[in-house]
């Protein structure tokens, strides 16, 4: 049984007991425990059910490579799925539950999948569940959805906060083991700005538990001295609990710091995302031990040998009283020796190698441990925990020669350098046949902007675990040289000594000649339930690419990402394909190294500060009046101003009628206002707009259309000529920044010799539209500017002082009424707005919102960018040929509009639509034509672009694009709705109201 030893545990603080809850059970651990060590201390051998077969699973590892112990953590607004027990620090009150089981971990219905394993082979989704088709939706998918998947999605809004931090470093070092510390010492003492990040909560990596000596003393002494030195250096920043998760272009790095996870609710961010730009990166990320593939290697109690040793040394946890060690290398002997020295029983070391020559096997034998060379595990016994192993010869087919009772198995298949960070941005790998692992190829590193490598690997991550200090020293000096900094030459290189290890022997399947039945119980990927037999099946079915095999079998997917399963899986694939491992290659390593919660990536960009909002100078007034706002680009504009019990439709109706009959005021401040100035300004605008602007007289306004080079309409607005060389271009509210950028693009990149400047003055002016039959009366009351028909005719503008305000008044109309748009410096906006309301009260002045604006422009048949246009519509489609110059030799979009498809008379063109029954056509409805296409869908011949209830006319009106529309006046078209009914509408002129323009021209 798994238990806590009476003494020891270098990370534990036994004085502080911490209570936690696992699957509703109250358990106890100590401060310093991980959740995994606390669970093992409480004999929780089985902690999860597997993904596909729902097999019982236990803790395998002690680090981020753990495949099984993923938990739903916390609850309510602090619920988070898929948290690894091995990287979760224990804290008082922690609550977690195992995933992937129903109704309970101990009794799980899904485990029946094991009995049906033959229908769940590699690629089972594609193979088994295709026919009959209807079964997929109603039978297979609901069952699979219920039983598969990792964790549950949180239901509540996250109660925690997260933050981003920007950092810069000359040398960023990922990993605080011996190699990382040594590299930091060299770079730091040489004066470089160093950032050293370690994912665990402890410095020193594996050195202590691996029995390393540095300068003749235990590694712990050197680690403490190095830390003291580094802490004193002001140019060195150290962080524990911070995982470097991705290396990106040109030295950009993301790291994830665990800040307030063990103290939920204390106000600190839960996690902090470091966004780092580094000159050079040293990956000192160590190595990960590989499992061995023997039948039953997934039974709870089978663990990685070095992880088992870590639990023993670090947390005083003994996963078993009797532990069988199975290995193909000398490292696992350290675990056997440590167990023996802790007073525990090691009945047998099973070593797949035929001859054992090193000092470590000798030391084990000297301690009285039985060692069998050339042996293998034929099968592990037990289902919910290990009860024993049956043994065989590695060279054979699995004939059992002995059975031994035990309650834990420590396995070691060799070590794989953690090459993820090296590989993220394109670093290439080399195969080392002696160590049977891939390691970074120093000749092919990821390249920076200067074309030189910006990542260097050091220590075990470089395949140099025995030589970590010298390797790290070299990496740090090379990094400094690259940065043009001088490394100190007076630093002494620490002498690192490990227990001598003899050569390992690659073992990919145990025993070598295992039959199909055994191979179907050998797990390569615990998390995704991929077995040796699955990869072999994929190979037989013709999969030769490792990338395809990964996706077909799901090997190495989810959180594993090539940590535990990678090398074993591709070795089995290579063997099946009769290829060498380097020829098969690895799958692509992609960030993040370990999963990052989406909250951390979002940081503080959530809720109200997700993006900045733009508010007009009158925003507060609108808000006080209870306006209902709608987003327009980054602006918030009043949609309508409901009064009393009015709903929005009532309010819009009132605002429209009041504006048509009396006086409406619109906050038009969001309208884009771009100044275009210079000797070539007219020439420039002639290229930008489809019409001619250079001939516009000073004091006049002209409506214009802008197209892109494809000819498609992109923006519209009124241009006013302020003086001979200055034009003021109004754009749509959402288009100001885009159009300003568009102007700059042409001026900077195409016509850079034209003398033109632009300035986006959108926010410098407030703009108020005074609209309706009584508009002139109101402005005359304010006084100071002659706004008579003679002095300020339609499409003219004047400058002056109106009621004490410095204004520019444009006589333009988007409603068809008598209308003045008054621009004032933004700081005067609110005061003028207030004054207009006060002076206009008895005239019936009321504000109106964007919806009334839309209704009134539709009644007049005016187009709206984004309604009548969608990026495929040319001005000619909208009957706006009058706004396109026939004389100009060129303008942006002219050539595009000459293409045959653009001049096709069959194009859908703008018309008005009048429903026969007076109803409103649903937004987005399509007009259907006779017949259907090859897919059995009805032919269409048009669509609605704007559709409203017109309060002025008392019925539904719409605009739409209809095939050959203008030729078909009076015809009836059908618009089916989503409820199965059809609305019939007559094609009419798009101008529904005041066709002669008599109302605006008074």
């Amino acid at each position: 049984m798994s238990t806590r030893l009476a003494s020891g545990g270098r990370f534990l603080n036994r004085a502080t007991v911490q209570n936690f809850v696992f699957n509703g059970k109250r358990l106890r651990g100590f401060a310093g425990d991980t959740l995994a060590s606390a669970l093992l201390a409480n004999d929780q051998m089985m902690v999860a059910r597997s993904f596909k077969y729902h097999r019982p699973r236990g803790i395998v590892a002690a680090g981020p490579e753990e495949p099984n112990a993923l938990f739903n953590m916390g609850r309510g607004a602090r619920f988070e799925p898929n948290q690894r027990a091995t990287t979760t620090a224990l804290f008082e009150g922690l609550e977690c539950e195992s995933q992937n089981h129903w109704p309970s971990l101990e009794f799980d219905i899904g485990a029946l999948n094991s009995l049906a394993a033959h229908v769940l082979p590699a690629g089972f989704y594609y193979k088994t569940f295709i026919h009959p088709r209807a079964f997929w939706k109603h039978v297979f998918e609901p069952i699979i959805r219920h039983s598969a998947g990792l964790g549950k999605a949180p239901q509540d809004r996250d109660a925690d906060r997260y933050e981003h931090l920007y950092a810069f470093a000359d040398v960023l070092i990922a990993g605080g083991g011996i190699a990382g510390l040594q590299a930091a010492c060299v770079a730091g003492e040489s004066g470089a700005r160093v950032l050293l990040l370690e994912q665990t909560l402890h410095w020193g990596g594996r050195a202590v538990n691996d029995g390393a000596q540095i300068d003749g003393a235990p590694a712990q002494d050197w680690i403490a001295a190095a830390l003291a030195k580094l802490t004193a250096l002001p140019n060195v920043t150290l962080r524990l609990g911070t995982t470097v998760s991705g290396v990106y272009d040109h030295g950009y790095v993301l790291a994830n710091e665990h800040v307030g996870e063990t103290t939920p609710g204390d106000g600190r961010p839960k996690q902090r995302l470091w966004r780092i730009r580094a000159g050079q990166i040293i990956t000192a990320t160590g190595a990960i031990e590989r499992p061995l593939s023997f039948a039953g290697n997934d039974v709870p109690g089978v663990m990685l040998a070095a992880s088992l040793r870590d639990y023993l040394h670090d947390y005083a946890v003994s996963p078993g009283d009797r532990t069988v060690v199975v290995t193909n290398n000398d490292d696992a002997y350290l675990t056997a020796i440590a167990l023996k020295e802790a007073g525990l029983s090691v009945p047998l070391i099973v070593d797949a190698r035929r001859t054992l020559t090193g000092p470590l096997p000798q030391r084990a034998r000297d301690l009285g441990i039985r060692v069998e060379a050339g042996w293998a595990i034929a099968a592990v016994k037990g289902t919910r925990r290990v009860t024993g192993v049956s043994l065989c010869m590695q060279a054979g087919e699995g004939g059992v020669i002995e059975e031994i009772a035990c309650d834990a198995v420590a396995m070691s298949g060799g070590w794989s350098p953690v090459v993820h960070l090296w590989s993220h941005c394109g670093g290439k790998l080399l195969w080392n046949p002696e160590q049977a692992h891939f390691h970074p190829d120093p000749a092919r590193p990821p390249l920076g902007a200067d074309g030189k490598g910006f990542v260097r690997a050091a220590g075990a991550a470089n395949g140099q675990s025995q030589n970590a200090c010298a390797d790290a020293d070299h990496a740090a000096r090379a990094a400094l040289a690259h940065l043009g900094q001088t490394a100190r030459t007076d630093l002494t290189l620490p002498v690192l000594e490990h227990p001598t290890q003899a050569a390992m022997a690659p073992v990919w399947v145990m025993p070598q000649g295992a039959n199909q039945k055994l191979r179907a119980k050998m797990w390569l990927d615990y998390q995704n339930d991929v077995k040796v037999s699955d990869v072999q099946l994929a190979a037989r079915e013709g999969y030769v690419s490792v990338e395809h095999t990964k996706r077909y079998t799901t090997l190495g997917m989810a959180t594993d990402q090539g940590k535990l399963s990678n090398i074993n899986g591709l070795a089995v694939l290579a063997d099946s394909l009769n290829e060498e491992i380097p020829q098969v290659g690895t799958t692509t390593f992609r960030p993040p190294y370990t999963p990052i919660t989406l909250g951390t990536l979002a940081g503080e960009a959530r809720g109200e500060i997700f993006q900045p909002l733009r508010r007009s100078p009158m925003h507060e007034w609108h808000s006080d009046q209870g306006a209902y706002f709608e987003p327009v680009g980054h602006w918030r504009r009043p949609y309508c101003y409901p009064r009393g019990a009015e709903n929005h439709a009532d309010a819009v109706k009132r605002e429209v009628l009041n504006t048509r009959n009396a006086l409406g005021l619109l906050d038009a401040s969001t309208l884009g206002k771009i100044i275009v100035k210079g000797p070539d300004a007219g020439r420039f605008l002639d290229m930008l707009y489809t019409g001619v602007m250079s001939t516009l007289p000073v004091g006049k306004c002209r409506y214009g259309l802008m197209c892109n080079e494809n000819g498609f309409l992109s923006d519209d607005g009124v241009v006013a000529r302020l003086d001979e060389q200055t034009f003021l271009c109004h754009t749509t509210s959402g288009g100001a920044d885009r159009i300003h950028g568009w102007m700059e693009d042409w001026l900077q990149c195409e016509w850079w010799d034209w003398q033109v400047f632009t300035a986006n003055l959108t926010e410098q002016y407030a703009q108020i539209a005074v609209v309706g039959p009584k508009a002139r009366t109101l402005l005359e009351r304010l006084g100071g500017v002659d706004v008579s028909k003679e002095a300020l005719p339609f499409m003219g503008w004047v400058e002056g002082t109106l009621g004490g305000f410095p204004v520019r008044i444009f006589r333009i109309s988007f409603s068809g009424e008598l209308s003045y748009e008054i621009a004032v410096p933004a700081g005067h906006g609110r005061a003028l707005w207030d004054k207009l309301h006060a002076e206009g009260a008895d005239l019936g002045a009321m504000p109106y919102g964007t919806e009334a604006l839309h209704v009134m422009r539709a009644e007049k048949g005016f187009i709206m960018i984004g309604d009548e246009t969608d990026g495929t519509v040319i001005p000619q489609d909208l009957g706006m040929s009058w706004a396109i110059s026939k004389k100009k030799p060129d303008y942006l979009g002219k050539r595009g509009q000459e293409r045959p498809h653009m001049t096709d008379p069959d194009r859908w063109q703008l018309v008005g639509l009048e429903t026969l029954d007076g109803s409103v056509i649903p937004d987005g409805a399509y007009a259907v034509a006779p017949g259907s296409n090859a897919n059995g869908q009805r032919h269409t011949e048009g669509r609605v672009t704007s559709t409203y209830f017109s309060p002025t006319l008392g019925r539904g009106i719409a605009m739409g694009l209809i095939r050959r529309g203008p030729e078909r006046m009076g015809q009836i078209v059908d618009f089916p709705t989503t409820t199965g009914t059809t609305v019939q509408a007559r094609i009419v002129d798009p101008v529904f109201y005041d066709k002669e323009g008599a109302k605006q021209n008074v």
Partner: protein
């Protein structure tokens, strides 16, 4: 997350403050252009695995457009230069041929 030096303000700008603008040195074909010329201008783009010339705007900086020569495969940057030119300047071409002797001369 590239870094490109803005040739106007001299800032080594992170990609987050830049806006991409596609292939550089296109020749505009306006009114009167043949179908082939217009197609080449509007739609035909190179997609090299190797040296490429691109338009970038220092959108959240000085607002200027500039051009960059870089390798799409290795992300190596050969240089940046102002947009007011119809062909890469000699110093950029020299830099490319020094570092990529086998690369074909750009059009």
């Amino acid at each position: 997350m590239l870094t490109l030096e803005c040739p106007y303000c001299g800032i080594k700008a992170c990609e987050t403050e830049l806006a991409p603008g596609g292939q550089a040195h296109l020749v505009r074909s306006g009114a009167g252009a043949s179908d082939d010329e217009f197609e080449a201008y509007m739609f035909a783009r190179t997609n090299p695995k190797g040296v490429h010339f691109e338009r970038w705007r220092h959108a959240y900086g000085c607002g200027k457009w500039f051009l960059a020569a870089r390798c799409t495969a290795t992300l190596e940057v050969f240089g940046t230069y102002p947009a007011q030119t119809s062909a890469p300047p000699a110093r950029i071409l020299q830099e490319i041929s020094a570092r990529r002797p086998d690369e074909r001369a750009p059009k």
